[in-house]
Amino acid sequence: MSSIYEMDYNVGSRDFAAAGDASRSIKRTLQQIGVDTSVVRRIAIASYEAEMNIAIHSKGGKMHLAVNSDKVVVATEDFGPGIENVDLAMTEGWSTATDEIREMGFGAGMGLPNMKKCSDEFSIESSVPEGTRIKMIFKL
């Protein structure tokens, strides 16, 4: 039997009170499964960035965690509005965040590049206005 653990998390748009809960829960789960601490750290950072992206920029979305003995996959999916130019969005420092969001300490334009840096495999597809899907793979 192949062992796989899967879990879904909802991320609300602009729900700053709950934003961060999903990545916190993901981190805790991986610690209890016994994933190496340095990998947990990378996943924690990447999933936190992903979760905040959904909360800040999208109309809400979902995160999906899948763990098996050789890899961890964190996938996200949101309900729009999508990213017009994905290549531009992947550039460090590029951001569409409003001043209000920047005031909160987010929106430095490091989210997507950071997620890519932290993960072993990173893919993103986006269409306007449907939404954005991201898949991050971390090897164990």
Binding site: S3, G20, Q32, G34, T37, V40
Partner: protein, 451 residues
């Protein structure tokens, strides 16, 4: 009182079983979910306990306490020195001079008194040099609170390398005193008894097994709690002939409250936080990479900092006020500490922490990752069958914790009173149904009886 000791996880927090009522107060307040109620008494999961003292503080029956040493240990040494934490001074009104407090402490039976506030001033001044190192990991995280260090080992192992590499004020003071006594008085290590007067359980723990940096050895030999020694000082405070014993200035004394340590590098980007739950929430932000511009993080487990230690006697905020008042009396430069002295002590490595701090992550659900994954799934399923009200009646701090205990083989589903009640309900229905049924061989006989 039973104290179980093993080298790997020694804790000074203990339970007085005769006072424990088996209520769930400590269970709910433990930041690492290290407590379970078993057989009507609270028990501590050693690998999770960080000695923060929350349980000691919240126990309504005062059943939780910390093992510290008693005064009779003084007779084990030829020469004894009391090393009072800065908080010790805050237990007394400002009209009583620091010298008078120290003299009364010495009079209890010590050969000498040396304030930890003196070492605190040295460590504080040396912080700026560590921040100047080019390979320093930012934010630099204070290592002054052993409960926070332990929290990092258990829950934030990836942040261990951000910890300040200097020793704590208590260790630096002890090193200085030990070195001097050996050089000037020709004393051997085993003849010297350095006794820390401690505001908390966490510091008492580091002295005894030195868990935060588990491969090294403390320069301190014993610890006595402030609450234990307070009445002894009080008895002598009016009677002693005051001696000139103070070496500290206000700079060192303010380490007793939150922000004291940070004040040495006040021009930097700093966050200082107290209360273990607040510390955890900021550590999470640091771990998530949100505070990249931060230079220094001072996190202290007790509200108010060391003045809020669970082994002190005075109200935290009154104590803090007193420290602030006294800090104005003697300023930097009013003792023999100079910047050249700090610089050379820093560069010589005299202030460096001995040994490495290792991660001590909690045990995974299973040593085999495939099994751990399966158990995680089972755990989710079990959690769904539980009521989700986190009542604590099962002895675990919440439903998820019970589910975890079950997959770890340390609890059973019927430990939950709601699950148990449902099971009894079903059983009683089944019993009723069964009682209605008549065994086939008896059928005719029963009919006969009715005729």
């Amino acid at each position: 009182m039973v104290i179980q000791m093993n080298n790997e996880y020694y804790h000074s927090v203990v339970l007085d079983k005769s006072k424990c009522k088996g209520c769930t107060t400590c269970l709910r307040n433990c930041p690492t979910q290290a407590i379970r109620v078993r057989n009507g008494k609270a028990t501590i999961i050693k690998e999770r306990c960080i000695d923060c003292g929350e349980c000691i503080r919240v126990c309504p029956y005062h059943a939780k306490n910390a093992v510290t040493d008693k005064l009779d240990i003084l007779k084990n040494y030829k020469y004894t020195v009391a090393l009072p934490a800065p908080t010790t001074i805050a237990q007394f009104k400002k009209k009583i001079s620091v010298n008078r407090i120290l003299t009364a402490l010495k009079d209890i039976g010590f050969d000498e008194v040396q304030e930890v506030a003196y070492g605190a001033e040295i460590v504080g001044e040396a912080l700026k040099y560590e921040l100047m190192e080019k390979d320093v990991k930012k934010p630099l995280i204070s290592s002054a609170c052993p409960a926070v260090v332990r929290m990092l080992q258990v829950r934030f192992p990836e942040l261990i390398e951000n910890l300040v590499h200097l020793e704590s004020p208590m260790e630096v003071t002890a090193r200085l005193v030990r070195k001097r006594l050996k050089e000037e008085k020709g004393l051997r290590d085993e003849e010297i008894g350095l006794v820390f007067i401690t505001p908390c359980a966490a510091k008492a723990t580091t002295i005894h097994s030195y868990i935060p940096w588990d491969n090294s050895h403390s320069s301190i030999d014993a610890s006595i709690s402030i609450s234990e020694i307070y009445p002894e000082i009080l008895d002598r405070i009016d009677k002693v002939q005051e001696e000139d014993l103070q070496h500290s200035t206000g700079r060192g004394l303010i380490w007793a409250h939150t922000g004291g340590e940070s004040s040495f590098i006040a021009e930097k980007q700093i966050i200082n936080v107290d209360g273990i739950h607040n510390v955890i929430s900021v550590l999470e932000e640091i771990e998530n990479g949100r505070l990249r511009e931060l230079d220094f993080f001072e996190g202290l487990a007790c509200i108010g900092g060391c003045v809020g230690g669970c082994l002190t006697v005075e109200n935290t905020f009154i104590a803090k006020k007193r420290i602030m008042d006294r800090s104005l009396d003697r300023k930097a430069g009013d003792n023999d500490i100079t910047d050249e002295m700090i610089k050379s002590a820093y560069e010589s490595g005299f202030l460096d922490r001995e040994g490495k701090i290792f991660p001590m992550p909690e045990t995974p659900l299973d040593p085999n990752i495939k099994e751990a994954i399966n158990k995680m799934e089972t755990m989710d399923k079990i959690e769904k069958t539980l009521p989700g009200i986190d009542c604590g009646s099962c002895g675990a701090p919440g439903c998820r914790a019970l589910a975890e205990d079950i997959v770890r083989g340390q609890a059973s589903e019927v430990d939950c009173i709601f699950v148990l009640r449902e099971a009894i309900n079903e059983l009683s229905k089944l019993m009723y149904d069964l009682s209605e049924k008549v065994v086939p061989v008896m059928k005719d006989k029963e009919n006969e009886g009715n005729e």
